[in-house]
């Protein structure tokens, strides 16, 4: 009877077989619906979107830059009418394709040149600007992929902070024999020092120095002249500059970006080098650097708010007449020149870096270089590209008005008349370009140095406690 406790109100005449059949049909439909997107992407014939098959966090290659759309193939988008000068005749005709993970600014000079490479080797070159550029972001995005035995590209423009980790973990392919001696001979002493520490590990080459540059020390020659002082040559000179700069011009003696995320580490390692210190050992030189920075902040010769500054703010401070000197990257020149109303040559004069106590004038070289992920499927082609690119002729071609201009003999000669060329030449002749120290797990070490420095500068720790904490964490 309907509606009783024994029988449910709804009644169906479906048999058990029919019910199971219906369940099976629904489940199959649901499974097909879920699998369809994966099937469609697997059947896709477009190689450029094939990178979505990776499990990493990089996602699809960025296509926000319209010029990149034409740069994805070595045979399109470029004029193609000139060959790259001085190409090596030993390049093999391998054919195939490589993808280079690179930022847009660094990609642009290469896009113009790769047609010549493709013509000689038959290797098509694509570019992927979707891969993170900052070393810290590269670690975050690429560690899971590399650990899973995958790689989003065949060549990667890897930063200093990421390369040692990748090499130590065995995720990079060495290419010692691929680079011609002419490429190494082209490096200045400072670059050679840098390459030995940051591009070679256990006697093998893992990275070709690419967009490498020294940290530059800039000064307002106009302000220095008005104050009747020479450019600071030592830390004491910077301290002496503080009072007159503040009184007469309401300017800081020195500004820099010392926020967490690499900026604080860059600054303190620069200062530590000038005091003959090793920033990872928290030795006397490093402690002197800590004290120097603290002294400048206490006297208001250096802004305390720089603890939260990236280069955006420090450059803005310099370009808005808030400081007499600044430590900056080479792009400050370009940014300053973009402020046409403000810019004059003597407002952005490159000075030799100052010397710290018991130290010498010093700055360090750093930047990015090309590595080959071990999981690359075109290792031979990638090596061929590096062998071609490393030659002086190619470096001169890429270095013209781009961030590929590094202190190499060929580039220094070719670009001697540019502001950056003159700066590099001065730094090379003064022998101030060094390599900063490297250590195991450099990523962690940099983070510890930054945290300890900021703890000290904000008064959360004394110098002794800071040194103790730093040494304890880094062993």
């Amino acid at each position: 009877m309907a509606g009783t406790e024994e029988e449910p109100v709804f009644r169906s005449s479906m048999t058990r077989r029919a019910m199971l059949s219906r369940v099976g049909r629904y489940t199959a439909l649901a499974g097909v619906a879920m699998a369809t997107p994966s099937l469609l992407s697997a059947c896709s014939s477009d190689g450029a979107t094939g990178s979505t098959g990776t499990t990493g966090t990089t996602g699809t290659p960025a296509v926000s830059d319209t010029t990149r759309a034409t740069g994805t193939s070595g045979t399109s988008g470029a004029t193609g009418s000139t060959s790259a000068p001085g190409t090596s005749s030993s390049l093999a005709k391998l054919g195939g394709q490589i993808t280079i993970g690179i930022d847009t600014a660094s990609m642009d000079p290469l896009v113009k040149m790769v047609p010549a490479f493709t013509e000689q080797t038959g290797i098509t070159v694509k570019f992927d600007t979707g891969i993170p550029h900052r070393a810290g972001d590269q670690l975050t995005a690429l560690v899971p992929q590399f650990q899973a035995g995958q790689a989003p590209c065949d060549l990667l423009l890897a930063g200093d902070g990421a390369t040692p980790v990748f090499a130590q973990a065995g995720w990079l392919e060495p290419f010692t024999d691929a680079i011609p001696q002419a490429a190494w001979d082209d490096l200045t002493d400072g670059m050679t020092d840098y390459a030995n520490n940051w591009c070679k590990f256990n006697g093998q080459v893992y990275r070709l120095p690419g967009t490498v540059s020294p940290l530059l020390y800039f000064g307002r020659q106009d302000i220095l002249s008005s104050l009747g002082v020479d450019a600071p040559g030592t830390w004491d000179d910077i301290v002496s500059l503080g009072d007159p700069a503040k009184t007469k011009h309401n300017m800081y003696a020195f500004v820099d970006a010392i926020a967490k995320g690499g900026f604080a580490y860059n600054d303190i390692s620069w200062l530590s080098l000038q005091a003959a210190g090793n920033v990872f050992k928290f030795d006397d030189g490093t402690q002197n650097a800590f004290k120097f920075l603290s002294q400048l902040i206490e006297k208001d010769y250096f802004p305390k708010s720089a603890l939260a500054w990236t280069f955006n703010e420090s450059y803005a401070a310099y370009l808005s007449d808030k400081s007499v000197t600044i430590r900056a990257q080479t792009d400050l020149i370009r940014k300053a020149q973009a402020s046409k109303d403000w810019y004059k040559d003597d407002k952005v004069k490159v000075l030799l870096p100052p010397a710290g106590p018991n130290g010498e004038r010093a700055t360090w070289l750093g930047g990015y270089g090309l590595v080959i992920p071990k999981a690359s499927k075109s290792v031979d082609q990638a090596k061929e590209f590096l062998a071609w690119l490393s030659l002086p002729a190619q470096m001169v071609a890429t270095g013209a008005d781009s961030n590929w201009f590094s202190p190499r003999h060929s580039q220094l000669e070719a670009f001697a008349d540019t502001p950056l060329g003159r700066a590099y030449q001065a730094y090379t002749e003064a022998k101030v370009m060094k390599s900063r120290p490297i250590t195991d797990n450099v990523s962690k070490a940099e983070s510890v140095v930054e945290t300890v420095l900021q703890s000290y500068l904000t008064g959360q720790m004394s110098l002794d406690d800071a040194v103790k904490s730093g040494r304890g964490q880094l062993g």
């Binding site: 130590q168 973990a169 708010s305 603890l307």
Partner: protein, 302 residues
Amino acid sequence: MRKARVRQMRYRRTRRWLIPAALIAPVVLLRGVTAVWPLVESGRLSLYRSGPISGPDKYIGLSNYTKLFADPTFTESLRFTLIFALVSTCIQLVLGIATASLIASSRRAAAVLRPLALVVWAIPVVVVGIAFRFGIEPNFGMIADIVRRLTGVDVDWLTGSVSAQIAVIGTNVWRGMPFVAIIMTAARQSVPVEYYEAAKVDGASVWQTFRMITFPAILPTVSSVAILVTIIQMSTFDLILAMTGGGPASSTEVLGFTAYRIGFVNLDFGEASAVGMVLFGLVAAAGLIGIVVQRIADRKAG
């Protein structure tokens, strides 16, 4: 005959749950793979020394946990996570309820506040973090400039440990309050109008009306939202990354950021997993408290 009837009964009972179960099975499976398995794997990894440059994984028991709780940076991060979540939640609830009351009581206020709340809520957290970082910078920031002109006070928010914590909490409140306000508005509007009319007739003041009618009526919603928002805020990561990077030093680190730093900067996956499990424990505890509070509230209402 009787056996056939019993069989038919059992078959119908089975059918009642089998079809729905079969239909939701794919989703449950997907959720299991994407949420439950990573949780179990994190728990397992937290018992190992693991990392890309630390050699093969090695079982070390609870060493990661003892190391964490002996590390002042971690305990500070744990303390700030709780402060960040609880203080943000309290302020958001107060402001959210106040905003909801305003929206409910005035059409003009509703016309302005409701779309404003939606716009603020829609802004990505990273954008909020970066915007406030620039905005409160004393040399260049617009917010700092306005505050200086109005009050004469010049604060360098992000260079002191306490001030940076206040700045981060304040930004979080600004960003999260609209969500609470929108939910509270819906709860407020479900209170019968007759109650307010009766209160008006009885001569109740605004505060009395709120205390005796509005708040008791929306209390179940308040408790649910409080737990939900607390849990969400315990897992904050993006705001900290964008605004302070955990600095100055490590004073604004929360557990989510600490896990990221240990995992992707220090490259210690085992220890990072341990941080993740501690965070999971906190969130689970908050959820359990929410369930208990809800049950007590239901019992009182029933």
